[in-house]
Symmetry: C2
Subunit: 438 residues, 2 copies
């Protein structure tokens, strides 16, 4: 019989992989909660119509949809933002601002390739019910805190503002109806390069000489620009939208400075467009210089999205961490270090008749917070030691009839290869102090 | 526009609900790991054929199945056991015994009703690759530890053994082919009562006088039986299977005693059948006396199940906690207590010009582990205090120009209604000591 397969684009996470994932999730949770965010969970399955028409033409094709046994059109969650909007409209009494985090899988029927999966985790923070840009600044401070606490040192948060870009496009002579098209072109800069974007805009027929000059001078070739904020201000500040957008960027700059975010960790970058149409204000994403794996966070303000679900429009801003890419980076960083297993102590089985003593000793260790296994059956000691060694277990306890009579245990340090007999009542302290020395 | 609905049988978990769920999950994780279990995660979606034919006729109808865009027949995970078996066969090099836990949602297209959902969490522990019954004993010790640490005091773990029941049925004159039918009838005891089971067995035509007498004397009316183990031994011990099963139950009794599980917390109960066909040895489930919500854990040994997936049969045993029912019980217990929010401190906004000071103070509090929010915009203090009070936030910090000049903060205890001015550098200690007094 053929062994059953796993679906393409889906993954099993064995314990060693899980340990890294859980550590990242637990750190994020701690930081999100320290900023006053609270957990939310929503179903993996939604009515299809809740998701339809929200993700653009390309996204729409990637939704996992089907008819359930009751004839309902249902779909697997595509992201965590749209379900959040549904929740906000379903529970109008939620106290605002409502700050929630959600760390959960989403599904997209995308073509699987290196680093792209059909089932992957998103880790979202959103602040609903305030138009204050301090909320956006807070999201970026959290981004910086998470990445630095994970030990990342070569990331940059790119920051832009849709209002500014709208004003910029109009100031460069584009018509309002062409702004979205312009941003979609600009969004491809990383993929198709400066020439590609200009060719693209020309092809659509919206490239004029003013736009070309402004783009070339200080957006596409932004490395030459010393103070992009004041440069942009000189172009857009005479328009109301432009002025509003620029002052929002200044609030963000002030926030990042107050939060102590190092200046190397962020930049204002007017070439950042962000694909989704629903953003209305600040937009942001984080890239790492090494390894080159694209953005590891992304988000922005979406003040009109909840209005699709409820009569009252409610301002909102949010950001999402891509767990899969964070894991990839962490694994590269950690492959250099020594890995130890989850379990800290193995109590070997000398004889079935002595198993009761093993279980009692295990209970003492476990209640002191030491992760302890017992070996379930009598077999050669060497085999049991090999098991401990393969499982990367640090300590082995051997309890034969002699040890039990003397109320002692033999404690073997598998890493140092040393071994000693000590009183059972001293084993917890001995193991704990050895573990903390490591 | 009508607000989009949530699917029937599915749930949103708002922060207050999530807090209870996360606390239970985190305690379980800690205990599972203390026994040497490691985390595993598997896809929510599997090939349909992996799940088909594993859950009996009734279960089969409840699988969420559909054809994906690539024409594959896929299904949402129905439980965590079958995906585990697939993993075991897919990674033959996993070190055995392999002890894993998985806490994750599963889906069943069941008729929704009170306490029964279409999406719900299972929390599974399984030990793969050992036939030792000490492994089964360990699962029960974990069950007891988790429930006691959650503060449960009125539960009973019911324990039986399929080998014993097979021997019992044969000793009572049933034919081998009728044993499964017999167990399925017995499984309905709680629902249809003793008379119902006897009628059911008679209806199928497998009730004889010996079976009726044995059943009546000491299984169906087990409250009269003083020592069910020796009673059962007297019936089945002359058969090989019966003897084996009885000695397994004795290993379990010895284990529970060595682990210090109170005798009130478990019982050997020969009326326990457990629905699934794949069990081969010990079976167990936990019931609570109050509230009456059915079993909260269930499991058993399934030595032949992995053989369905791989050439080599591999012994295995496992147990599953039902998160939803644990949450229900916890919520009933906690509704009496005072609930406080997740966030501990709110820093009010006196004026936008002072926001930088608020962010700096928030950073100090957060880095000391105090969960802190800032209010995002200037508004009447009363409104900000009402927000803190509605969110059940314990402390409010007010920083006006006077406070900032004096390097002080005004700290308001929302629970006691007291307020004091203190130096900014003393606020962390003051808040921490007040929180620990609660």
């Amino acid at each position: 019989m053929a062994a059953p397969q796993i679906l393409k684009g889906f993954r099993d996470f064995l314990p060693q992989k899980m340990t890294v994932r859980k550590r990242i999730i637990s750190l994020m949770t701690e930081i999100f909660e320290s900023f006053g965010f609270e957990p939310l969970d929503t179903p993996c399955l939604e009515y299809a119509e809740t998701l339809e028409g929200k993700y653009g033409e390309e996204g729409e094709k990637l939704i996992y949809k089907f008819e359930d046994r009751g004839g309902r059109n249902v779909a697997l969650r595509y992201d965590l933002t749209i379900p959040l909007c549904r929740v906000i409209s379903a529970y109008p009494d939620l106290i605002k601002p409502f700050k929630r985090y959600q760390i959960a899988p989403v599904w997209r029927a995308d073509k699987p390739q290196k680093g792209r999966f059909r089932e992957f985790y998103q880790c979202d923070i959103d602040i609903i019910g305030t138009e204050s840009i301090y909320a956006d600044g807070e999201l970026l401070a959290i981004t910086d805190t998470v990445l630095r606490r994970l030990g990342f040192d070569n990331f940059v948060i790119r920051i832009n503002n849709r209002k500014v870009m709208n004003a910029f496009a109009l100031c460069c002579g584009l018509q309002a109806k062409d702004v979205t098209t312009f941003l979609r072109s600009l969004d491809k800069l990383d993929k198709i390069g400066a020439d590609g974007v200009l060719k693209d805009l020309a092809g659509i027929g919206i490239l004029n000489s003013k736009l070309e000059k402004s783009l070339t001078d200080f957006i596409i070739n932004d490395s030459k620009v010393i103070d992009p904020l004041s440069e942009m201000a000189s172009i857009v500040a005479q328009t109301e939208t432009g002025e509003e957008g620029m002052s929002e960027l200044e609030i963000i700059r002030d926030s990042l400075s107050a939060y102590g975010v190092p200046e190397d960790n962020y930049m204002f970058d007017f070439s950042l467009a962000r694909g989704l149409d629903y953003y209305t204000g600040p937009v942001f994403e984080t890239i790492v210089k090494e390894p080159k794996i694209g953005s590891i966070t992304g988000g922005g303000r979406y003040d009109n999205l909840i209005g699709l679900f409820s009569k009252n429009n409610i301002p909102a801003t949010g950001s999402s961490f891509g767990l899969e890419r964070l894991v990839t980076i962490m694994e590269e960083k950690e492959s250099e270090k020594n890995v130890t297993g989850n379990t800290q102590v193995l109590i070997t089985c000398f004889d079935d008749a002595l198993m009761k003593e093993n279980m009692k000793a295990a209970t003492i260790l476990r209640s002191s917070g030491i992760k302890t296994e017992i070996y379930y059956k009598k077999t050669k000691l060497k085999k049991q030691l090999t098991y401990a060694s393969n499982r990367l277990i640090n300590f082995v306890i051997i309890m034969g009839p002699d040890e039990i009579k003397e109320k002692k245990v033999t404690l073997r340090n598998m890493i140092l290869g040393t071994q000693e007999k000590l009183l059972q009542k001293d084993m917890v302290e001995k193991i704990k102090s050895s573990l903390s020395e490591r």
